[in-house]
Amino acid sequence: MIKLPVYNSGPTALQPRYTCVNVEDVYQVDKVATAGSVYDVIHIHYSTPSMDAGDFLRASIDYTRGTASVVTDQDIENLKDLIASANQNPSSTPEFELIGARSADASNIDEYQVVDIQIKAENPASA
């Protein structure tokens, strides 16, 4: 399990509260663009099969707040490392924060906080 800061959840944008995502059995992490080259969604793919043949579960972590591209290649590498670390320490719940949040201020920090998460079943070969 990892925790992620949630948009509009705390007393101020600089004091977010957290949600959590299960990262056991994750085999792949991608950044996804919702429009053009605006990368603001992360997909984590599980090796957990769905009831339908060929389908597996996938979590979509959505940071879409505007037109800012907030997810970088380094974020994906950092998340992979965090997932590996979390799985080696089962009782830990480390925090994942996008790199851009470190230099953000009160006016735009919420662009680096999670707006939505959804777990779906899909066929990786056709996704």
Binding site: M1, K3, V6, Y7, N8, S9, G10, R17, Y18, T19, C20, V21, N22, E24, D25, Y46, T48, P49, S50, M51, D52, D55, L57, A59, S91, S92, T93, D116, I117, Q118, I119, K120, A121, E122
Partner: protein
Amino acid sequence: MSNYIKIPLANNPGRSFVTGALDGTATGGGTVAGTGASAAQSLGGGSGSGATATVAKGGDATISSATITISNIGEGYKVGDVVTIPILSGGGATTWSAEISYTILAADLVASVGSVTEPFFLMPIDNVGAVVKGSNNTEVIVELKQSNATGTGADKVAKYTITMDDTPATDKWALQADVAAAVIKAASAENSQPEVKFTSGAECLTVVLS
């Protein structure tokens, strides 16, 4: 062995009516006359406010055969509350010559499963995939890392839907963080059963697995 969180279930919280005909039988009302549903009348008494209902004469001149239908659902009513509708003597439709009295049943109100003997919902968290905001400010979803047999896309994934009362008001992201805090705590401390602490005193009505 599984880890759990405890979700407190409100015991007969004040809540809204559901629209439609009341489930029980009213008393009083004197002589009921006329035809067709009356104009909506305010409900007095009870612990809530804001509800209105129409009355339509039934097969005889008593209120027990009439149909009382909620128009405005109001807020803050409890099972066992006695609400009243004052005399209505005009208006061209159903009338009644004495105050109507009605004792609220569970089926008349928004569903709530908490009770003295069921104060908590015990949710296993070992297969939790993510804690997700609901579609509105009275809902939070716990999606499981587990497939469901039917549906497409997101509907293929099993989930708990936690439904909150709309009063006191809260926020879907705050609710999400409330539940996630308990899940994170349980995941970090085996054999603990942390209780969800809802922001702003929000009250949980139901938890449904689908």
